[in-house]
Amino acid sequence: MALAEFKNPSPYEARLRKEFAEGGRSDEAVRAWNAFAAAGLPHRRLEGWRWTDLRGALAEAGGESPAPVAPIELDALAIIRIENEDVTIEGGDDVAGLSARVVDGPPEPFASHAVSDLGRAFASQTVLIEVSGKIEQPILIIHRGGAGRNGDAVDIHVAPGGSARIVEIIQSAGGSFHHVGARIVLNESASLTRSVIQDAAEEAVLVGLASATLGANARFCQSSVALGGKLARLETHLKFDGDGASASIDSAALVSDSRHADFTTIVAHNAEACETRQRHKGVADGRGRAVFQGKFFVDRAGQRTDADMQANAILLSDGAQANHKPELEIYADDVECAHGSTCGALDDGALFYLRQRGLDEASARALLIEAFVGEILDDMDAAAAPAARAMVENWLEARGR
């Protein structure tokens, strides 16, 4: 099968093509590659990527000596490590209602998406997690990407009535391009709590793509905390396929120096009486940039949708930026959809109050920032919250708390 060419390849795209052409690829991989090559790496002239220029960020990526990131480890029922695309699975093999294994081939495509196509083109294997019972203990997935390009693919299926807690830690080394795909299918009355901790070296480029499909009365709770990277985007596509399902999507980004963190979500209410609660908190310091793009799409079939989206940002310095794009696209007439977006500095009155009580300025600022993102951390799964909290504290410490 012939390998398609890019129209006008950037040096990094040319490098990707060379890497792809050198491997022995299946027809399915070539089809995915050709779909990717037709679009190329997303860039800022595309509406959905105007604040997050992946092609631009990769123009200089790929340093030979990647800066490593200190590993975060947690206790879990099963630990799945994907390190430079090598998968190891520890534990969980004797747990009733849980199966975690590596299967050949890429995951199913979930959307027309260049990075998804890229991931599928390179993925020779997928981690498949199947849950058929109620699994109380958390399952930990550690994605670690070293030098060069690394792609991880995970498929999570929860059978009707099943439930699970997944914690994903995504750590990308400096100078690397790390793309992580997760496909989640929740059948009728299934539930999943997914916590994502994104930590990366300052020079890392990361795109995390997740798709979740919810059957009737399913419940999906996702909470993510990100420190960004040279460019880091966590993108979630959520689709309500059955009536009466619900989801909460929380995210917090803390970006400093010239880091960039992007949370993009598209929630499609294609069924009746589904509920979405979404909160985003962005904190940007230095020349950091926190991007939030949230879209609620309500199909004609999405009557009695109840959806709320709130995005708030705090800018700590003159050079910091927050870009918010909340969007509603509604075709049903009996819905409740709301969105709100705020952006500002720390409250001077609150700062003075705390300082009058004896806290020095740095501690007072840190307390207010912690309180601001605390709403997200407080509601995070207990399996992930301590690690996320520690990451936030380290971030504040580094800002001279």
Binding site: L354, R357, G358, D360, E361, L367, E375
Partner: protein
Amino acid sequence: MLKIDNLHASVEDTQILKGLSIEVPAGEVHAVMGPNGAGKSTLSHVVAGRDDYDVTDGDVTLDGENVLELDPSERAAKGLFLSFQHPMEIPGVATMNFIRTALNAQLKARGEAEVSAADFLKLIREKAKLVGLTDEKLKRPFNVGFSGGEKKRMEMLQMAIFEPRFCIMDETDSGLDIDALKMVGDVVNAMRGPGRGFLVITHYQRLLEHIRPDRVHVLAGGRIVKSGGPELAAELETSGYDQYIEAA
């Protein structure tokens, strides 16, 4: 103890304090009364160190030490406490954790031993009873969903816990019902004594029925226009501030 001498302060080029002088000796309670816009809140904020004001002239000293040079947190550690007229609601900040952090920050700055979690719990429970705040309120995020009166109780709780050397109470009586007014009086009366001073800023005489001040000062037009004994408060209640506004 607290000496404010010829204090001039402005905010965004508007001169608000125009040569204000008050001296509160240790062990005394002084009241500052005045009409709206006289500069009462500016006085409390400038002494506590809010950045928004420019001190253009004058001195503020606590036991001889110039406090205008100090950061607000350093002033707090020296024992200067401000009970805010409009206390902040701070969502996401756990009340007990915050008050303990603040207390320990003050103790640490003074080189004193910090309080343990267990000792602090005992202390805050005891003082909370004094100011009429339930355990449930202490477990909430700081002041979130509190009524105006409850926020003032929270101010009094902190004052009782920090045991500051000098307390500035900025219209603590506003928004209080009769029971709460009495509580404020009880807290102040229990704390007043040698080595501690109070500056009670108020519009009305009613709080001064519970806290009998040693001196009363009338603030109008950014300076003290009259000082006298406690009887001055009663006199103001009947005669009003008009004569002083004109004089200023």
